[in-house]
Symmetry: C2
Subunit: 425 residues, 2 copies
């Protein structure tokens, strides 16, 4: 466990989950797609059959949440309605229907030595998921990991613990129906926060941890983690309206990027406008934002062109508002726009609106973000829209998986080598 002194009871417990997950991962790596899919379909059925139990357990969490003064928005995220329970079951069946990523062999080529060398796609092994209070993450994350052949250790927010443990029971029934061990999906059943640190340090068992949550969680993870981490950080996304843009298209795309859904990480936070088109473009989109109740925080050059706008502060350029607020800035040219994106953005998703081919190519190449778009709304940044199927999140890191992470991102490739008695001389 690499910790000093004696392990606490919680550490010993988490360690036992890790050891069991590692053994389960070997079983899963051998299990054919048919077995994994059978488990998923059985889970979907079990979810529907257990709707009443799930709602009863969820009611305990809701009651405790209300007693503890949880905010309405959090209570809403916590609640399992009949529709959400049906949605969970449907989501599981969609994942079961995805193409199987495991075992794919690619790039087999004969080398000068006579060896044939290529790659085989295989599960990562054991994945830890740390997330906040939405109980549906328990099932969504577990099934994506299972589809990709991985064992999972889940640690949800303590406010949802009854819901999560009830979902874990349903998952177990699905696993059992396909002859897979319980330990393929384990939910940490303690509210003790040292369980998270223990999970993050267990590098002999855990191949990667995926944290889903706010800045507090992310900071703790980055301080404690010895295991590799796939981060899903802020989306401070930009739309840059070039002077060679179709301005009607620019207006529609920028408006949609902000207003499609305020709460998603692909939502536009900052609109950048080329100085040559600002006078023509800004009053029109300003009116639309204003009528839609979107608060505008503008730079000194943009503010006079935007009725009802406020002056932007330096902090606005690096804030993920996740609400009806947009920062707006006039830039001198595309280089100025790219400089702004590189110095204030979060490397998540950024778009250019232009009809100039060379500029579109430079923007695609030079903007160092997980998704770079031309003439499309930033809110398209998700795994389903990219053809990946369901996603576990949108990675803002550069290693392994960048941008939306679907089942393939939950696998790895090993080299496979065929010889005929080859030796090196």
């Amino acid at each position: 466990m690499s910790t000093q002194g004696e392990a606490s009871e919680v550490e010993t417990y988490v360690y036992s989950l890790g050891a069991a997950a590692k053994r389960a991962a070997r079983q899963l790596a051998r299990a054919p797609a048919a077995t994994r899919n059978a488990a998923l379909l059985a889970m979907a059925d079990a979810i529907e059959a257990s709707a009443d139990t799930l709602r009863n357990e969820n009611a305990k969490d809701l009651e405790a949440g209300r007693a503890n003064g949880l905010a309405d928005a959090l209570l809403d995220r916590l609640e399992l309605t009949p529709e959400r329970i049906r949605g969970m079951a449907d989501g599981v069946r969609e994942v079961a229907a995805l193409a199987d990523p495991v075992g794919e062999i690619a790039d087999m080529r004969q080398q000068p030595s006579g060896l044939t060398v290529g790659k085989m796609r295989v599960p990562l092994g054991v994945i830890g998921i740390i997330y906040e209070s939405r109980p549906n993450v328990t099932i969504d994350a577990a099934v994506l990991c299972l589809k990709a052949g991985n064992a999972t250790i889940l640690r949800g927010g303590s406010e949802a613990i009854h819901s999560n443990l009830a979902i874990a029971e349903v998952i177990k029934r699905g696993l059992a129906a396909a002859g897979l061990t319980d330990a393929c999906v384990q939910v940490i059943n303690t509210r003790d926060r040292t369980a998270v640190s223990a999970l993050l340090k267990m590098d002999e068992f855990v191949d990667v941890v995926i944290p889903r949550g706010g800045k507090g969680l992310i900071q703790r993870v980055s301080e404690d983690a010895r295991v590799p981490v796939l981060y899903h950080l802020d989306g401070i996304c930009h739309v840059y309206v070039d002077d060679h843009a179709d301005l009607q298209m620019a207006e529609d795309v920028a408006f949609n990027s902000k207003t499609y859904r305020y709460g998603i990480c692909g939502s536009m936070e900052t609109l950048l406008v080329h100085v040559q088109v600002a006078a023509n473009f800004l009053p029109k989109i300003g009116l639309r934002f204003s009528e839609h109740g979107v608060e505008m925080r503008a730079c000194a050059r943009a503010q006079p062109l935007l009725k009802n706008s406020l002056a932007a502060t330096e902090a606005d350029w690096q804030t993920e508002h996740l609400g009806p607020v947009v920062s707006i800035r006039v830039v001198d040219d595309m280089d100025d726009a790219i400089d702004h994106i590189e110095s204030h953005g979060s490397h998540h998703t950024d778009a250019i609106i232009t009809n100039d081919l060379q500029r579109s190519q430079r923007f695609l190449r030079e903007v160092d973000s997980a998704s770079v778009m031309v003439n499309a709304a930033t809110c398209f940044a998700d795994g389903n829209q990219y053809g990946l199927g369901a996603e576990i999140g949108i990675s803002t890191g550069k290693l392994h998986a960048r941008g939306p992470v679907g089942v393939v991102g939950l696998t790895t490739q090993k080299f496979i080598v065929h010889g005929d008695g080859a030796i090196r001389g």
Copy 2:
């Protein structure tokens, strides 16, 4: 810098290297392949033109090393002979001649929304390399990273500091000849060990750190790192001789796997032999090992079949000998062999010798190692033999790059999205 209190002088210095590297990485990401290759070719010329200077500076390190009682093996690794200097220049020219990985666009597909979504290969950004006293790593690592469009911060062993700084001067001349900034390749010029911790914590500037060195270095890295790390750990590699093997082939491959070069991480450390063929196979290979001066440490079933062998201890099964020592064990069947590999190996490279197709397929699928081989010697595990060109190392981690890491492993892919004014409804 995420450290508490005031930054020390060394931390401030390393931080300034990080900021400069980040700016250089943006310049490099825009530089076409022709520019990066021109820098590489100019470096190769500069190495040859500076051979005398390199040897003079290297002599200072050798003298200090002798005065400090450095072991002969380490002094040998430290020395820059005329042949090694020529080898460095040739190596740089080979990297320049590799196919360029940057800018490759793949998997562009139209999605139901009308968007076209695909991936573009781009540099990782800023790479930190921490290594021990071989000065040729300075040039090898820098040129591979530069080929892939990355800026590099190098921290070599302090015993080689004069050699490394002299090589850094040569690298700068190459960069200048192609119009690239100095900061594309920077060598940390202090012996102060806090420089390493500072580098490992600078997650706003450093995209990945690659440590090359012994267990002490690796442990410090894993404790201090906030930045992602590509680990290159032990190679405890196995050859399993199945009862369906061609025993002459098995003997040749196993012998070659051990004796081709003792010091490489792909060298076989443990030979596993199916009980049904042990009596026939072991005496013959035992004789070859014995004649070749290879010490055998054998399990209780193998020892009577191997003249001059010692009894293996539990520690032998998990030791990377890197020398003329081999551990030998008789196993009941392939499952027993796989269990041994999974519980004692290091997930580096493992081979089966068999003519049974189903067993070869199960072994390929179930052994969770970076390279899994059928009827080939483990010592083939390297980037050149796999057709990747020069390698920066052999990753034993599962994320991002697994097994030999060439220039492609030093890049990442971002999503690129083309629309025609697409909005989400």
